[in-house]
């Protein structure tokens, strides 16, 4: 199956076909989710209206983490099988994941200040998320730090793999340590611990964020693949 999808042109044909449905999915779930979250859902009994930050904070955090799992898997495929599509996918995921990680940190600070009284605390969840953001930046720097882009692919893929250690730390930091950050509300044993009036908009914005992430990654992969073809064409003698 991997061989089937690993053909770049076949992969892009499939990806381009699902691009428009993804745009429609992202816009519709995002619009309904934000409407329900901002206008319909009640304020939290403890946190008041600040809970509405959850509809960007949690989807961003999920995507920053899932994006990193994707980056790590691409790193594995690249290191083991040297498949160029894994490198392209990793290079496409990294900046998108980095922006989602930054968004998680900034919206978290904006939520932390009114609720905890501090923009930032060196709490296990916050610190591991910051490290995740630095791993993304490190990947981008390594992948693009060479004259020929391909030379950076292997060290960057190795870095992405090393950073995978941090993924379970981010996820379980709230259980392993006594953190100021609240524990998981969605993916926990015993089911979600949120009332359906807040759960519905959250699930919708989560779907929207996943679709949005996929759109951006497809677009960036398309650009990177075209860039590689451009480089191959211009390097070939007699073409220019």
């Amino acid at each position: 199956m991997f061989d089937y999808f690993a053909n770049p042109s076949r992969f892009m044909r499939i990806a381009n076909r699902i691009l428009i449905p993804l745009v429609i999915l992202s816009l519709s779930t995002g619009a309904i989710g934000l409407y329900l979250g901002l206008f319909v859902a009640p304020a939290d009994y403890q946190q008041g209206d600040t809970v509405r930050i959850i509809y960007i904070h949690v989807p961003s955090a999920w995507l920053a983490l899932f994006g990193y799992v994707g980056l790590g898997l691409c790193g594995l495929f690249y290191v083991v099988w040297r498949h160029p599509l894994a490198d392209i996918a990793a290079r496409a995921i990294a900046p998108v994941g980095a922006v989602f990680a930054l968004l998680t940190l900034v919206t978290g600070a904006l939520w932390g200040k009114p609720m905890w009284g501090a923009w930032w605390v060196w709490d296990a969840r916050l610190t591991s998320m910051l490290i995740l953001f630095f791993f993304y930046l490190g990947f981008i720097a390594l992948a693009n730090g060479f004259d020929r882009a391909e030379r950076g692919s292997r060290p960057a893929a190795l870095l992405a793999l090393v950073g995978m250690i941090n993924v379970p730390i981010v996820k379980f930091s709230v259980d392993w340590w006594n953190t100021l950050h609240q524990p998981a509300s969605l993916l926990r044993s015993g089911g979600p611990a949120i009332d359906s009036s807040m759960l519905t908009p959250l699930v919708l914005t989560l779907i929207a964020a996943h679709a949005y992430f996929a759109i951006l990654v497809i677009l960036r992969m398309r650009a990177l693949l075209t860039e590689r073809r451009l480089a191959a064409l211009t390097l070939r003698p007699g073409v220019d």
């Binding site: 600040t50 509405r52 930050i53 922006v99 968004l103 900034v106 904006l110 009114p114 064409l233 073409v239």
Partner: protein, 58 residues
């Protein structure tokens, strides 16, 4: 309406969060579309010239 934007006194924090999200995601979207578009255009220009170049060189 003013009550809605005030968000129980937390409006500054909530709207800053949403504003930052719009700026980040909007910029990322714009940059990604633009890059996909410009590279595709460059490739089209190169490929349009391609079939003629081997003939002219012969």
């Amino acid at each position: 309406m003013a009550e809605f934007f005030d968000m129980g006194g937390f409006g500054t924090y909530i709207w800053s969060s949403y504003g930052f999200a719009v700026i980040c995601l909007g910029w990322l979207n714009y940059a990604s579309w633009r890059k996909a578009k410009t590279t595709a255009e460059q490739l089209a220009i190169l490929q349009a010239g391609k079939p003629t170049s081997p003939k002219t060189s012969e």
